[in-house]
Amino acid sequence: MRHPRRAIRSITVSALAAMFALIPAASAFACGGLVTPNGTVNLLRTTTLAAYHRGVEHYVTQFSFAGADATEVGSIVPLPGVPTDVIKGGDWTLQRLIIETELKRNDGLLLQAAALSSAEDATVLFETQIDALDITVLEGGSVAVGNWAREHGFFLPPDAPEVLEFYASRSPIFMAVRFNVERADDQGVQEAQGTPVHVVIPTPNPWVPLRILGLGRKAGEIVQADVYLLTDRRPATLPVAQRSNGDLSQPGIVQELSEPASASLMTDLRSDRGMKWMPNSGMWLTHLRINTPAEELTHDLAIDASGYDQPDPIAAGFVVPLPDPGVQPIVWATLATGVLLVLVGAAARRRVMSTQAI
């Protein structure tokens, strides 16, 4: 870890289904304007659970099959650290969270300042398959990851270089996901059928990527997403979420719910696949609704659930992390020059003093 962080902080939550549609190059590359029906980024509302407990982030999101005709729409998710496991998510976790918050409504997320922006090849950390999904976890700078995506048949929209750099400057870990159409066909996956994916990421400093949700979208296009946070304490966020006024069209990052997770919710979630990590009780549930024009979504969501209420501006993407000292020879050169000047000054002073003594 190259970023000094408060060791005490047990921060919260993290990475959201920050996915962007990537379209096979073969169908989308054209002189201009020849965008196939699947060549436009058309994300539906995304739902994600970003939970943080005992230094491990559990990130659950769902990838929906766009159909064989739409071919392999894929996604890339920036991650705050190297995952130890990527497994099939539970069958009802996301749905149960929706039910929980909808009921309430009716009643009344390891910063790794990698700075790997060079064009060196991306490193494939591991690959796995979940149902019809091909999943690859990559480590690399923005150019390297962009090159990998392009070379593997994805079409990156024009804002991808800047957005990838925005993430790679903080964490060089990305997860590329795409449906294998043949396998989807063999398995009888229907159009719009979702496959939940659960990513386990040990990290001292998780964050929720929001900016990437606007990737490939026009400036005024509205980005909508539901982010559920489960944390050991009530989290503080940056930017600060607005209180809900009850209007679903309320713009911005809106806090729909913030309260101790109910016993029934905890029980239901714990009984789902891959959710045994949850404690029996004592977690805090937050539901945030994102409803923001893409041009305004230039940041992520920093969360601090340590009780210190100090969400990190770097984690939110408001501050660019300092580059790795290893790539800053000018700093060392400046220090060396300073030391040299001091030595020369000391030597000169000694010479003057010795002259005076004579």
Partner: protein, 135 residues
């Protein structure tokens, strides 16, 4: 659509020199254009009527781009066109990710403004364009 592109581009570039990666002619001005984050730098260029300029396009992005010089009609044709890649011809060139390519273009004798842009899907709308003032 393609024949219109070829005919119009050919008409507008009459008198242009060949393009490619040939060494610079000492009598030809060279302008280096960096492509970064899907934007051209510089975005404003001045040329004299009839001047030949050698454009060196450096694409630092991990995605492909292209460089098309012409008036609004040319830009529109390319925006609606179907060429995945442009064979090198004066004022029209594809610049693959991470590569540097050269095209040489001779401007028409008349004064006016031309545009250079990229017409890969979404790029022109994203703002990937610049202006050449011929005066």
């Amino acid at each position: 659509m393609r024949w219109r592109t070829v005919v119009l581009a050919g008409a507008l570039t009459l008198g242009s020199t060949a393009c490619g990666t040939a060494a610079a002619d000492p009598g030809v001005r060279t302008i280096h254009i960096r492509i970064h984050y899907s934007a051209f730098d510089p975005e404003m260029i001045a040329a004299r009527p009839g001047e030949t300029i050698r454009f060196v396009l450096e694409n630092t992005d991990p995605i492909d781009h292209e460089f098309i010089v012409g008036d609004e009609t040319v830009q529109l044709i390319h925006e609606e066109g179907t060429e995945a890649h442009h064979a090198p011809r004066p004022g029209e060139i594809s610049v693959p990710a991470g590569e540097t390519h050269v095209t040489t273009y001779t401007f028409p004798a008349g004064r006016g403004a031309l545009i250079f842009g990229c017409h890969l899907p979404g790029h022109y709308d994203y703002g990937m364009r610049g202006t050449i003032q011929v005066r």
